[in-house]
């Protein structure tokens, strides 16, 4: 799921943010809220945590596919460039070597492959994460600054079909949230 999409009909708030003291609480909360059928939920941790992701039902990332494509593109492109320039555009007798000296062309091909793959890995990652996105509603909650230190947060968007200001808030408290606050747009 991506934070890119914005609601058509605009609810009063962006959503509710629950704060947890430990990652275990957060994981538990994620599981329950996911089981409870909430779909527009996101969790925030100071460091990567696979369970959180699993608990929210994130599974395989699309990235590997993108990287493979990028790598192939780079490699093939690199080889074709060399073939085209040294066999078609301006073939020259270089030290009696044939125009198509494929063994020599391997090295640049390899490097191009890596370059293509690496670039697509990074750009792909940013793209999938919808970055750059300097502005985001969650930053409106002052305590959210602790998300990059030692606090764990869970946000339920108002967009969520099952969202209900009171019920959801209560539900979050039931999940041992130390605190629940509104997230302004």
């Amino acid at each position: 799921m991506s934070a890119l999409q914005h609601p058509p009909g605009r609810p009063p708030i962006y959503g509710l943010m629950a704060e947890f003291n430990s990652v275990t609480d957060l994981i538990a909360a994620c599981r329950s809220i996911h089981d409870a059928g909430y779909t527009r939920v996101d969790a925030f941790t100071p460091y990567p945590s696979e369970e959180v992701a699993e608990a929210l039902g994130h599974h395989r990332s699309k990235l590997p596919g993108i990287v493979l494509a990028g790598g192939l593109l780079g490699g093939i492109g690199g080889y074709l460039l060399q073939y085209w320039t040294s066999v078609i555009v301006y073939p020259m007798n270089i030290g009696g070597r044939p125009f198509h000296s494929w063994p020599a062309f391997i090295v640049p091909t390899f490097e191009c492959t890596i370059l293509g793959a690496a670039l697509s890995a990074v750009l792909g990652m940013f793209f999938l994460n919808g970055l750059p996105q300097p502005y985001h509603p969650v930053f409106n909650v002052p305590r959210f600054a602790l998300a990059s230190r030692d606090r764990y947060f869970l946000v339920v968007e108002a967009q969520d079909p099952k969202f209900d200001p009171q019920a959801t808030r209560q539900f979050l408290f039931d999940l041992h949230a130390s605190e629940v606050s509104d997230v302004a747009h």
Binding site: I94, A104, P108
Partner: protein
Amino acid sequence: MATLDDPGFAAALQKPYRPPIVAPGHTTASVTDQISAVVLQRTPKWWFFGFAGAFSLLMVFLVSVTWLFAKGVGVWGINWPIGWGFDIINFVWWIGIGHAGTLISAILLLLRQEWRTSINRFAEAMTLFAVACAGMYPVLHLGRPWLAYWLFPYPNTMNLWPQFRSPLIWDVFAVSTYATVSALFWYVGLVPDLATLRDRSRNRVAQIIYGFGAMGWRGSAAHWHNYETAYVLLAGLATPLVLSVHTVVSFDFAIGIIPGWHATIFPPYFVAGAIYAGFAMVLTLAIPLRALFNLEDFITTRHLQNMGKVMLATGLIVVYGYMSELFFAWYSGNVYEMFMAWNRVFGPYRWHWYTLLLCNAVVPQFLWLRRVRTSPLWLFVISIFVSVGMWLERFIIIVTSLHRDFLPASWGLYHGTIWDIGTFVGTIGLFLTLFFLFIRFLPAISIFEMRTIVPGSHGGEYSEVPE
């Protein structure tokens, strides 16, 4: 990310001769605060002195390069038959140094060596800056540096393209790829920490700058999910890359037909040498750094020890390389090869060769002793020796091979000039300048990765999985 996979391993950590990789008593909060403090607190005095020194060396570089451009490469000591001197020696030396960074951040990551966590950040920075220095020389060493762009494939009115059979073109591709990938890897690693700094800093400007770099990172589960994948993939790509780069550099020589260059052992031997030199440099930087910023909690003797071990191992490979070169020469029965070997040991540059053996083969043997491995001072001294030794190795390979090649009538001799030295010292200045800026304005230790390894934190997949 790696930490204690199994209790046995964890227990092993507690054994006295294996100091922990993080001092006890740290929490995600304390790590975060202490490391980000380094950046956010007021600049310590010593930093200004250090930076001033580095910057003045950088000016030496500027002057040397200007004189070089004004007059031509003739200001250096090169001649025929010795067409390459300090320029390519330094190039190979710097590139080699770079390798440790990538190795630590990528290969050790894949090998789940969690102790890498606290050193990978500045090791990567070191890589980046070393590659920047190295990258200068291919341009500087040109007779007509203003035409350096001819080495890149671009459409032009001459209908001419690079000559892809030349190892120098391979270098262009390898080094530029290496630089790019290292930069990406480094930046990707930085993003969450930039977010941390963004959130920690109270200064508007800092907030904006770090916030800009953080791209709005907010540590959402979805982000981390793709992030982890990307990070591991990058590591997976950087690993073959780093091995390829020094292999390609070694092709500069191995492809040549000059006795002393034309050797099949070069690729592995160069890669090992690169890691050797790289770890030496990491130690040279890490030891003062941890002292100055009181980071002993994070860069513990355990790290120093491990790096010492790696140096010992790679050092032995390198020495094996020297020996096998001599052996091949003798075994080949080829007059040119045999003479080359003889000339290294007894020729006019014999003293360089002996010093090389002292620095790279003899001194590192002390690393067999734990007392040495655990003593920062000793390690620092040894790593300096190794850096010198590795520089000499390149000198031997380039100069002694060229100065007496096939035809006795075209033998020559090479001495560096003040401008050779100026350029070399200058790039050291560039390196240090960049490094000082780095440690001042960016977290020298990866904060978010440290969070994952502080005891008690439930870092990713390693927190106990409930049945």
